[in-house]
Symmetry: C2
Subunit: 257 residues, 2 copies
């Protein structure tokens, strides 16, 4: 347990995310990973493959939040510029990291694959950066100060997160309960929910409607708190609230977010 | 046809996106919508349900890009604070928009549903804002200067986009071709691709690996250009590049992004 506020931001790097070619799932993956550490993601930015834009975003975010996670742009191709951008953001040099270079050399030797100059690029780390193990495809991410630089491919991000948890400070764990109701409309409960939100200290209440079709719509009410007793009381109040307008509540168990 | 550079940014508003509860699909939806108008999305931010954070992001983005699209926070509940935040960002007042109020009143009357104070909140627009029709669920979005404020629910965003296209300036249309190859590794083609990227003026080349499992991985090479002849030549060069390392290219037709 801790009372320290620990926060995170995510900086997604890649033209393919901005163009709509690729739908981001790393935000959800990283946020869900950080939840049990009590580290809320407080901001996300998506920026193009452009060094000055990456430098600007990373420097703003690393000054404001405890941790920053970047994704994308650490492969062997010409558009992989994240390592250079991170070095520029920190004002440090960049070069082959000896252990990473040797590890990749051995890996490609074992695959009878040439360790080309392009592949050697993946051993370039900002000065002082610590590698982050990539159990999926070898080429590591790296930690520079409070900035964790990860791959863009979601399965590789997932693998790299396994070498990050032990580096994180524990923050204040926020738990949540979700009470939802198909057919409920936000307008039916908005006044009562607003009153409840004002009188429940230490619990934040959110209302999330879904509307997939005229016959598949409803509202999910989410209570979040670091105090389990308050959260349990809020759950009862949300159930009562939905019943009070003649609708049937459904409690979703085990929702961590 | 136009030579004007027209740009956009997206500001997604909502704690549920930052917590990982909800996976964003509006970025992809809006970016794909803007593609045919020649309007690239150049930045995305996700910010919490916090007025000062929304104001800061919207003011930075609207100064930098031709258009800004916000999503989320325009419903009837206490956590729907986007209209107030946009008014604050523009330094204008906020109040019931007479036509929107009358439209919603008539809509709820027709449904025999009380037009409660909470529902009336959805008729509150920043001074001078123009409504954006919501064909899905009634309550409109609105345009304030160069900022389009939309709902968060994806099906409603899609509906609202239909009342936005006619308000947009046409930019420079960028088309793309994708040539992909299962089994190809980025390191196999990185040097040649880098050379090609340097010598193909007016075409940007991106390399996007996928790695779903040890037997399902590959690379998609994407060329983007506003010049169709250059794009056609780039496609041929990418096909040749992949064949030159003994792999089989597959051309994806009709990829707009």
């Amino acid at each position: 347990m801790t009372d320290e506020k620990v926060t995170a931001a995510i900086c997604l790097i890649g033209d393919e995310l901005l163009s709509g070619r690729t739908r981001d799932i790393n935000t959800q993956q990283i946020a869900s990973f950080l939840g049990p550490y009590g580290i809320p993601v407080e901001e996300v930015r998506i920026v193009p493959d452009d060094q000055s834009r990456i430098v600007e975003a990373v420097n703003e975010l690393r000054a404001r939040y405890t941790y920053v996670f970047t994704t994308g742009g650490i492969g062997p191709t010409h558009d992989d510029i994240t390592a250079d951008a991170i070095a520029a953001a920190f004002g440090v040099g960049i070069g082959h990291h000896p252990e990473v270079f040797a590890m990749l050399q051995a890996r490609y030797d074992a695959m009878n694959t040439e360790f080309t100059e392009a592949r050697q690029r993946m051993a370039r780390l900002p000065e002082g950066a610590k590698p982050i193990t990539n159990p999926v495809s070898g080429a590591p991410g790296f930690q520079t100060g409070n900035v964790f630089t990860l791959a863009g491919v979601p399965s590789i991000v997932q693998g790299m997160l396994g070498d990050i948890g032990h580096r994180l400070k524990q923050g204040i764990i926020v738990k949540s309960v979700t009470v939802r109701s198909a057919g409920l409309r936000e307008g039916d409960i908005a006044e009562k929910l607003g009153l409840l939100a004002r009188e429940t200290d230490g619990v934040s209440l959110g209302s999330y409607p879904w509307f997939r079709s005229p016959t598949d719509h409803g509202v999910a009410l989410v209570a979040r708190s670091s105090d389990e007793a308050k959260l349990a009381r809020a759950q009862t109040q949300l159930v009562d609230l939905i019943r009070s307008v003649g609708q049937e509540p459904e409690i979703l168990e085990g929702e961590a977010t």
